[in-house]
Amino acid sequence: MSYPQVKSFTTVFKKLLIALSGLGLVGFVVVHLLGNLTLLRSDGAAFNAYAAKLESFGPLLAVAEIGLLAIFLIHIVTVLTTKKRNLDARPVAYRQWRSKGGDTPSNLSSRNMAVSGSLILLFLGIHIWQFRFGPGMSQGYIATQGQEQIRDLYRLVVETLKNPVMFLFYSVVMILLGLHLRHGIWSALQSLGMTRSRTTTPLRLLGAILGVLLGVGFLIIPAWIYFGASI
């Protein structure tokens, strides 16, 4: 630590934070998708059992939730400061700006990360309010698991997603999530300096495939419920 005065909060350092928190969130999204795939079992027992299992962790779940919240906050706050800098960096806009294309990661995904990210954040608020803090057993959402009574989260999910407005909103945001991750996964590796000339193209492709797969995976759930599932 021999250069304390220059080891400040540089743009490169912030990108490390954004990348690490972003990869953490990708990990969460993967786990969340795998868990939610139990929604495809039409009786809902598997999903309710999964949700009840998570609830049963009690304090451990709270710790995980706070940790997740912290990762989200690091990602969002750091991105906001970098976005501010980017807007300040070009006070006079071009009258015309066109991509020069070529073999670059410049595409709709990469140029609109702030748009997709903001809408995902808006979704996140609504999503958590709907389900995490939504009606529970005291509001009559009760399922039975053996002798036990557990929260019937499955019915709440199905009721919510049967609403055409909610179905459309969830679907659009899942497409945006796919687009965000299509650039985000590779971009995180690039920000961490983990790409090299030989690996950068394959990693870009793999990141894009994984990102789109996650988006599509999440898109299947509202579509399955809207067009298929019954309570």
Binding site: T11, L16, A89, R90, P91, Y94, Q96, K100, Q190, G193
Partner: protein
């Protein structure tokens, strides 16, 4: 030989403080074998003859190696071609009757001095912050006294091709100078003479880049597409590896 009639829309701005605007100009009988800058020279001759102020723009070598020239042509830095500076762009890439919009590089760190001329001394200050080797490395070393693997030498040389034209900043949606800064860090750090100061260099130059008001790199890659020397964004990943390494030290 085809002759072109062109409608130009050029950014005119008297001084850094003045409010600029686009002015329309018409040119006819433009030979399509002349360069883009020669086309602007012809326009300026006409403007001077009619007693008007010529359009100011930077140029020097006019053979694509000095980095002086560079304007935004129809929304693209150095115009539509890849691996090409503005001076190496020829009018044959335009069509008869085309409208060509010409703007200066736009970045807070590159204030407009006049018309299409911007002040790129922010780049010089990034170099001054650490883009050098502090010790005397002596004259040309004896052949084979410093063994450098060919891929490393190639990588250093690829980075050293940067001419500092500023197209990376101009093309970047965030006006980031990461490609320039990374190239200037790596062309030294990869070689034995520049290696001892590698960590100090990356910190100082990145911090200076930030202080000059450039944006963040968000890995979009427009810099690479606009770079007349085709410097890869791999070099930005290299800068971050150096940065992480320096954090560990």
């Amino acid at each position: 030989m085809p002759k072109l009639k062109l409608n130009l829309e050029i950014w005119r701005q008297k001084n850094p403080e003045a409010q600029g605007s686009f002015e329309p100009y018409q040119l006819s009988d433009i030979d399509d074998d002349i360069s883009f800058l020669e086309m602007l020279d012809l326009l300026n001759e006409q403007l001077i003859k009619s007693g008007k102020a010529p359009v100011e723009f930077d140029s020097d070598c006019r053979e694509g190696i000095c980095g002086s020239c560079g304007v935004i042509i129809n929304g693209q830095a150095h115009g539509p071609l890849q691996a090409t500076t503005t001076c190496q762009l020829y009018m044959r890439h335009f069509g008869d009757g085309d409208t060509i919009i010409i703007e200066p590089w736009r970045s807070k760190a590159f204030p407009v001095i006049r018309d299409l001329v911007v002040d790129r001394s922010a780049f010089d200050r990034i170099i001054a912050a650490g883009g050098y080797v502090s010790t005397k490395t002596g004259p040309h070393p004896d052949a084979n006294s410093h063994l450098i693997p060919k891929p490393v030498a190639d990588q250093a040389m690829d980075n050293a091709t940067c001419i500092g034209c500023g197209a990376c900043v101009a093309a970047c949606p965030n006006a980031s100078a990461s490609l320039f800064t990374a190239a200037k860090i790596s062309h030294l750090g990869l070689l034995p003479q520049g290696n001892p100061e590698r960590s100090k260099r990356v910190f100082r130059m990145v911090q200076k880049m930030d202080l000059e008001g450039f944006g963040n790199c968000t890995n979009i890659g427009e810099c690479r597409a606009a770079c007349p020397k085709e410097i890869s964004i791999d070099t930005i990943a290299q800068m971050r590896r150096d940065y992480v390494q320096a954090l560990k030290e």
